[in-house]
């Protein structure tokens, strides 16, 4: 298939893997930020092609995985209300809250709909003026412009029955958080290409300067990922720390300006709690006060208890790249996609789900 096959070409993959082997002299640890990249790496077995001294660790870039349990509980509470049609992307439906997931609410009679775009939720609101339509706005900067567009359209159309439960997160503060941790061992990053398609590369410059780590904007196909790894290793070996673009077919340095404008018109930077990482300042997006009427948390009274999360799951360490899924004692036994102990086992982009699906027999890799 055009635009797919050429980036999965076996000969090209071998050439790039060889180039990485030639480049690499010292051991390095590189984190791919995005869960989509993690899945491609594990699905295609890309890490098997890398030299032994080069370690890829998996980052926190799975929006489903990092959505805090309190917010899932709020989604569940909303979906239970008889007047609400609760709309969500598919892979949020199975993420466990403190007691249940959205699929269970649906089975118990809640009106939960899987949509593929916030505009579908908007269309539902127009069709059902007697109901309250709530859209679960989850995701990184990638999905924020489309969600902003939905809010702008709702205002233009004068819709009074549309709102959003917002759980947007931003990549740069998460990278900063990881690098600020005393336990950090990541020496270079592959940044998520689709996030940069929207946001451009400028946000990452201060991070490379302050922490002295290379950040390479990277795509999602096998050749894209190996290209990103190669550029990252080359910088590390030369002692450089720059933002580089290994995904130029999709990413311009300035990003997508109209998308950014729309996003900043509707959203502002807020602090946010990440499942597994804790509270990270300035790491989220929330609706501006001018759009408060579309904020489901303000429209509905949502009493949700603070949740103490279970101790056995190590998804926090997995999301920080400090443990691999197979190092968890519950992995594949007490924790499976059918009975997930943590969100990293639920989401199709979660690192534990990727390992479970593709890699169950692989032994633990020492850190």
């Amino acid at each position: 298939m055009k635009f797919v096959d050429e980036y999965r070409d076996a000969a090209g993959v071998r050439r790039l893997a060889e180039a990485i082997r030639r480049e690499q002299r010292r051991p390095w640890t590189i984190m791919e930020v995005c869960g989509g990249q993690t899945h491609a790496i594990v699905r295609f077995g890309l890490d098997d092609l890398l030299p032994p001294g080069l370690t890829l660790v998996h980052g926190p870039g799975c929006p489903v995985c990092v959505t805090p349990v309190e917010l899932i509980d709020k989604a569940v509470a909303l979906a239970r209300r008889p007047e609400v049609i609760f709309c969500s992307f598919g892979d949020m439906l199975r993420v466990p809250g403190s007691k249940e997931d959205l699929l269970s609410v649906k089975a118990a009679g809640g009106d939960v709909r899987m949509v593929y775009s916030p505009l579908d939720a908007l269309a539902l609101a127009r069709r059902h003026p007697e109901r309250q339509v709530v859209f679960f706005a989850v995701g990184f900067e990638t999905t924020a412009p489309a969600n902003a567009l939905a809010v702008l359209q709702a205002r233009r159309q004068g819709l009074k029955n549309f709102s959003m439960l917002v759980s947007h997160v931003r990549v740069p503060p998460a990278i900063e958080a990881l690098l600020s941790s005393p336990e950090n061992r990541v020496q270079g990053f592959l940044a998520a290409g689709h996030v940069c398609t929207v946001m451009g590369m400028a946000e990452y410059e201060p991070l490379t300067a302050r922490f002295g780590v290379p950040i390479v904007v990277t795509g999602f196909e096998p050749l894209d990922i190996l290209q990103g790894v190669w550029q990252c290793v080359r910088q590390l070996e030369r002692g450089e720390a720059r933002v580089e673009n290994a995904y130029a077919r999709a990413v311009r340095p300035e990003g997508n300006r109209p998308a950014q404008q729309m996003m900043w018109e509707v959203f502002e930077v807020v602090d946010r709690t990440w499942r597994g990482l804790g509270r990270i300042p300035a790491s989220g997006l929330g609706l501006r006060s001018a759009f408060a009427e579309f904020d489901a948390e303000r429209r509905f009274d949502l009493p949700v208890d603070a949740v103490r999360e279970d101790g056995e799951c190590i998804s926090g360490l997995v999301l920080q790249g400090r443990k691999r899924p197979v190092e968890c004692p519950a992995f594949g036994t007490r924790c499976t996609p059918e009975h997930p102990l943590g969100a990293t086992m639920v989401s199709s982009e979660g690192a534990c789900a990727a390992y479970y699906r593709y890699r169950r027999s692989t032994p633990a890799v020492p850190a």
């Binding site: 092609l49 489903v64 600020s180």
Partner: protein
Amino acid sequence: MDAEGRLELRSSMSDVVQGGVVCPVPIHRYEQVLLAHGGGGRLMHRLLEEVFFPAFDNPALAARHDGAFLQVGAERLAFSTDAYVVRPLFFPGGDIGTLAVNGTVNDLAMCGARPMALAAAFVLEEGLPLATLERVVQSMRAAAAAVGVPLVTGDTKVVDRGRADGLYVTTTGLGRVRSDLELGPARVQPGDRILINGDVGRHGMAIMAVREGLAFESTLTSDCAPLVEPVFRLLDAGIPVHCLRDLTRGGLASALVEIAETTGLDLVVDEAAVPVSEEVQGACEILGLDPLHVANEGRFIAFVAESDAEQALALLRQAAPDLPATLIGQVRGPGEGRVTLRSRIGAARVLDMFSGEQLPRIC
């Protein structure tokens, strides 16, 4: 970010480290039936294992085949039933009527049986346009005529408006098994080659393309078709087929994993050999789905001895010259009952069933 912000961050990160405070409370067992229990993946298999198999335990059921084998005097019969609840009722390439006939006919074909007779039960929702019902019934008539099987008995019930999705159909079929034939997972041997009769994923993606909330433009049509002809090409040519399995919900992956788990044999499948059309591949890329997990209604896999594989492949291609029948893998020795997929770039990974429903991802 200012210094205060970083401080706050550090303390929250070290909380995580010391306490390991990260995990949601597990949902160990669902109290209700979820849609995912019908998805053809792990959850559905668990439902079968925990609820149905223990309740009805008997040798015919325990064979875990697409239908049951019954000995009636000197005659061996195959017996199978299936319920159809597709939405929308009409989709590109078929409708609930063609599905209901072909689905049961195919379950019989997977037993190596020619269909002799069908029964059909209809659950109709109050308010269903009669024209819709007539259209479905005409589809069933045409599909049954195409394989020469009479529909000999049936039943109709009507339920209140809102209690059914327009129309549900259940079909049951009886077929005559070739007398010389032993088919089933138990006959699969190490060294067997695995054949498929065409490309995968058409039915699931054709349905998804027209489903509410997910509509996208495509020219995809369902692969819904009877499999009697290709199966009997193999059997009539005297190929000692070891096992047949049609690919329905859960796709090729579920069929392979079921066989591997039932037999305890390891299977190796070459991902690049599995035929996938550009349209299906493209739609799957957009939605983040794997074509190997997507439903089919006119595809099957056959397990045959290595020495018969080339002839079997030639016969399948003769039966349907338009379809890319191909060899996709091989049975290895006894092992852990696992399916390994060799990826396009040469790496190996485990192929698993899907857990519940296939859910399109966020980004």
